[in-house]
Amino acid sequence: MPALDWQGVLTGQPLQWIVSGFLTTLWVTLAGVVLATLLALLFLLLRLSAGRFGHAVVSGWVSLFRNTPLLVQLLFWYFAAWNGLPLGFRDVVNADHAWSILPGDVWWFTPEFLCSAWGLGVFTSAFLIEEIESGLRSVPNGQRDAALAQGFSAWRLFRYILLPQGLANAWQPVVGQYLNLMKLSSLASGIGFAELTYQVRQIESYNAHALEAFTVGTALYLLTGVLMGMLLTRLGPRAGRTQHDCRI
């Protein structure tokens, strides 16, 4: 076994690549999580309020994106769907914009970033929909009756009574999906998106420090996952607060 040379990845150009890739992974994860959550809420509302039509649309969305490989979806968005967008729009995206630069010198207004965030968001939303839905279903029907009897509208019933409890019930699986999204962002290297995995492979071809580079990359994913999981569990709504907490 060759001696490990950490200097080859933790200094100079390779280090810059790793830092840049890591920050890119963090930003695209954040964008994907926000997008997935918004899409999931939108489709849950559609399912609740738009009757049979809404139901069919949501079921179609869920089965399409849950049952096809994420890599294929990313390739589709980047190589097929992107080129279907109006040329004028694509030109705007391809141009340089100062407001496109996120802290850490990550550019978000680029075809790669947008397609990656969108693809990850869409894919994850399909799982979130079903998981939050099962959380909503576990809210006792009596509380719906009580809210209707008090004159709550369907939207406010959802917003103030069902959603807080449904999210709390489903929070652990939801956190799991957010972590999956973070890890699956490595597949976006397949469309040339310069996130962590892409940069690690670049080091490998630059100075052949494959073992060291992939070790560092793996450690960063592990660290991010552990911290993200702890943070989200801590910050998230807690189911059963009512059962365990503070018996004063």
Binding site: G142, D145, A146, A149, Q150, F152, Y160, P164, P237
Partner: protein
């Protein structure tokens, strides 16, 4: 002590549009679930401020009857007039307004499990009635004090006993100053020693001006508090009478049998 607040809540609070007459009138009301007819042509008039106890065996349609009033169940036929106005074909917004003026207390309390006792009361005040948080909070605490639950204001439902939860639920139902309040077997899910505290709150509420319709198995409550007993079985109203008359000389044979079974369960006729 209690009646002071409740009469105020029934009559006062000019910030809501009010019913002229908090009356409820059933006209040929029919409720079907598929082929099964639960209520078969109910006619019943309830005056403003009246306390009506609805008695009857399980499965007789008692709960369905009051759930029709605020349309937790939809009518199959007939109409229900509230404040002398038909309600069978209300638009969504009008239905919500009607519901917000009619209190409902459930057998299983149905408190919002993620909210404290006081938040259970403020939620509708803020998001249905548009109150600011501060007055809503004050109103919640005042109501909780009146039902003897002030010190539990910041407890979650799961930290409260059944009787305490039901008292919070009654306070919640009163928050919007309803002129009609419906009780669906409010003590049936309670341990025996907790029934008293809930009945005490209900007793204080009765004859304060608010119209009360109570589905119950508490014969003593019906006898002492109600102005009128409505006995229902098999989807029909079989007897309507003042409690004194109903409990001493029920006229319908089914009511006689029911009372005998309920009041003297060990000495009923062999089947």
């Amino acid at each position: 002590m209690l009646s002071g607040l409740f009469s105020h809540s029934a009559a006062g609070a000019a910030d809501f549009s009010h019913l002229e007459h908090a009356s409820v009138e059933f006209r040929d009301v029919v409720k079907r679930y598929g082929d099964h007819e639960v209520l078969k042509g109910i006619n019943l008039s309830i005056s403003p401020g009246e306390v009506v106890a609805i008695l009857g065996p399980s499965g007789s349609g008692k709960s369905t009857l009051i759930r029709l009033i605020n349309q937790l169940e939809t009518l199959s036929d007939g109409d229900i007039l509230i404040d002398n106005k038909p309600t069978a074909r209300l638009a969504t917004a009008a239905l919500r307004q009607l519901r917000s003026r009619v209190g409902f207390v459930f057998q299983q309390f149905n408190l919002y499990a993620h909210l404290t006792a006081s938040q259970n009361i403020t939620l509708a005040l803020e998001h249905v009635h548009g109150w600011k948080p501060q007055p809503a909070q004050e109103r919640a605490l005042a109501l909780l004090e009146k039902v003897g639950m002030l010190e539990k204001a910041h407890h979650f439902p799961a930290q409260l006993s059944g009787g305490q939860q039901q008292r919070v639920a009654i306070a919640r139902a009163l928050a919007s100053s309803p002129q009609i309040i419906l009780f669906d077997e409010p003590t049936s899910a309670l341990d025996p020693e907790m029934i008293g505290e809930v009945l005490y709150v209900m007793k204080a509420l009765a004859h304060s001006g608010i119209t009360m319709i109570v589905v119950t198995h508490e014969m003593q409550f019906a006898r002492e508090i109600a102005d009128r007993i409505v006995f229902i079985d098999g989807g029909h109203i079989l007897e309507t009478a003042p409690p004194a008359q109903f409990f001493s000389q029920p006229s319908h044979p089914r009511a006689q049998r029911f009372l005998q079974k309920v009041l003297d369960p060990l000495h009923q006729e062999p089947l």
